[in-house]
Amino acid sequence: MSIWPNLMITSSQVRNTRPLAAGLTAVDMWPAFLDGVPAEVNSERLRGHEAFFGAASLGSPDDYEVFERIHVGLQATVDPWVLMSRGLETEQRHPDGTIVGAITDEVSQRAQLRQWLKVMSLNVEAAL
């Protein structure tokens, strides 16, 4: 679950992403324990977290590598766009406004950026 703009809660962790400057972002991750389970279960959750999410793990560092390369690519002036259209043709809009897509669709990424654009486009002087 993503809570706009920068809080994520998953089955195994709470994650907070803080942009510090253009080109510098801090990510804090807290693996979550389960209540009422044997200690070995929570130890195994820690091992799973280390294996995928940590700085020396086999998962997230690859994602960050991709993010950093996208960041470099976005410095381009020729074609400064990221295509984020996955699932755009198949996502479904429910009557209450909820948009639902497949797990690998970029529904949440589009929603994040749509809200970002909306907030950054507010009349700042009026808000003051």
Binding site: E50, G54, S57
Partner: protein, 164 residues
């Protein structure tokens, strides 16, 4: 502890450092014993890994997973691989009973390192203290356990997917 043992142990630690510097993953894996444990603590030096997160807490199977991935073409965070040079020093064989005679028992070795890592235009420096537990095995030594305490293990850390 004999001078010869100190020499063998230091040579082993330097050899491992060279394999890590040159990202020779499979040769590095061959240094480990079947019952290996590889531990890099996080947020302090001596937390209980059963209930506190580590940067690395690998048994033999996880070490093999790590090496398999690094050898594959999908390890984007090591494509291209880090270029590294580390100085390992202050090598000291602890004078516990097992270390004293070195006649087939395990040996505990402490050392320090400073590592410069360069990748895609960025230069990083790391430092820490390593404790190896080594087991004589035939003509050589095998790593039974290795603990690496980074001096900045309580700070924000970047890409640590190279070998420490």
């Amino acid at each position: 502890m004999t001078t010869a043992l100190q020499h063998d142990v230091a040579g082993f630690v330097y050899h491992e450092a060279r394999l890590m510097d040159e990202s020779r993953y499979s040769e590095w894996l061959d240094l480990w014993a079947p019952d290996a444990l590889y531990w890099v603590p996080c947020d302090g030096d001596d937390g209980d890994p059963r209930n506190q997160i580590s940067l690395i807490y690998d048994d033999r199977a996880r070490i093999e997973d790590r090496v398999f991935r690094l050898n594959s073409s999908s390890a984007h965070s090591q494509d291209p691989p880090s270029r590294m040079c580390r100085i390992v020093g202050n090598v000291r064989v602890l004078s516990d009973e097992a270390s004293r005679d070195g006649s087939g028992d395990e040996i505990t070795v402490e050392s320090s390192f400073v590592l410069v890592e360069v990748r895609r235009g960025h230069k990083n420096m790391y430092a820490g203290r390593t404790t190896h537990r080594l087991r004589p095995d035939g003509a050589g030594l095998r790593i039974v356990s290795k603990k690496v305490v980074l001096v900045d293990n309580d700070q924000y850390l970047g890409n640590l997917t190279f070998l420490l």
